[in-house]
């Protein structure tokens, strides 16, 4: 069973919760609206169901309230932005706004964001760029969290769900073209949703801790942990690998395999190229 909640009520709850957790009213509104928009767009894996994990990370010192991050290097059209563990909805938005301004000024901009808390639904940033008439391409990796996805032919998890997003203006202003997808067969949030609903996962999606196929979402919440498979076998794997390289490697190298063991800080890296 489920409840059905009006979007305005969800926004109100989200704002109150994040404000009560220490965020400014503006910050609380941006985070809440981002999550509710993900629910509205059908991506419940990135919606208000993330609130418990965000608050847990905040209390664990893995996310920081009222932190907008800062530029750490700037060579005009190439910017490295440090999120300083701020909420991803805030720091990735700031980095995207900066990229938009630079792409409009110079024709192209590359922004590498590091050290951000979970940046939410990456399509959000693609929509921001498309809304300004820009093309954007984002490659995201995930560090300081246990790997969740097995490499093609592999039997355990070696990297995150590493999403790729490409967005561009569409046939009309209200219809941008947004391709936004995890390179795993399904997002981790979708495993969470299935677990919470008591549902099975489709075949050819999950491996158990023994490296054998399973349909039980609980394998991702036990130790030793199972693994998601990539979409389209070797093709998804290749893109996931590229995310790891592009998002992790072109600023202070920080790849999934270098994560700090025992520290499951929830960080994402985003490397969008915005081309006018």
């Amino acid at each position: 069973m489920s409840v059905v909640v009006d979007h305005a009520e969800l926004r109100r709850i989200g704002r109150r919760v994040f404000a009560a957790a220490g965020s400014s009213e503006d910050e609380a509104a941006i985070i809440a609206d981002h999550l509710v928009e993900a629910n509205l767009k059908g991506h419940d894996s990135h919606g208000v169901g993330m609130i418990p994990s965000y608050l847990g990370n905040l209390h664990g010192g893995k996310a920081a309230a009222n932190e907008k991050g800062r530029v750490v290097s700037d060579s005009g059209s190439f910017i490295v932005y440090d999120g300083a563990r701020g909420y991803g909805q805030i720091v990735a938005r700031e980095a995207t706004l900066l990229g938009i301004a630079r792409a409009k000024r110079d024709g192209v901009a590359v922004v590498a964001l590091r050290n951000a808390h979970h940046i939410g639904r990456v399509g959000t940033y693609g929509e921001m760029c498309a809304g300004e008439g820009l093309l954007s391409i984002s490659f995201v990796n995930i560090t300081d969290q246990r790997p969740a996805v097995a490499p093609w032919r592999g039997g355990d998890a070696r990297f995150g769900t590493n999403p790729v997003t490409v967005a561009l203006p569409g046939p009309s202003p209200e219809r941008p073209i947004i391709a936004d997808m995890a390179t795993s067969k399904i997002a981790m949030g979708k495993v969470r949703v299935a677990r919470n609903k008591g549902e099975k996962i489709a075949a050819e999606t999950l491996l158990g801790p023994d490296g054998q196929p399973t349909d039980d979402p609980n394998v991702m919440y036990k130790r030793p942990r199972g693994a998601l498979l990539t979409f389209a076998e070797h093709k998804g794997y290749a893109l996931a690998f590229i995310c790891e390289m592009l998002a992790g490697a072109h600023h202070r190298p920080r790849l999934a395999y270098r994560r700090d063991h025992g520290d499951d800080r929830f960080r994402h890296r985003l490397a969008p190229a915005q081309i006018r």
Binding site: H7, G42, R192, N196
Partner: protein, 67 residues
């Protein structure tokens, strides 16, 4: 280009050919009017997390089946 691609004959009459981004727009239009379904366990987790920062989340008024 968009028109050319989406003019491909439908394999199922009730499933139109879409462009990337359309599924999200269709979902948003539906959920803006009908509300957002949230499974009971996720709702319980949200309410519990909210209680942790002294925010009381009231039980929603309408209930439905998980689509």
């Amino acid at each position: 280009m968009t028109d050319f691609v989406t003019a491909s004959p439908r394999r199922k009459s009730d499933e139109p050919v879409l462009i990337p981004g359309d599924p999200e727009r269709l979902s948003r239009a539906k959920r803006m009017t009908e509300g957002v379904p949230i499974d009971d366990e996720t709702w319980r987790e949200i309410a519990e997390a909210a209680r942790g920062v002294n925010v009381l989340v009231e039980a929603p008024k309408s209930r439905g089946r998980t689509p």
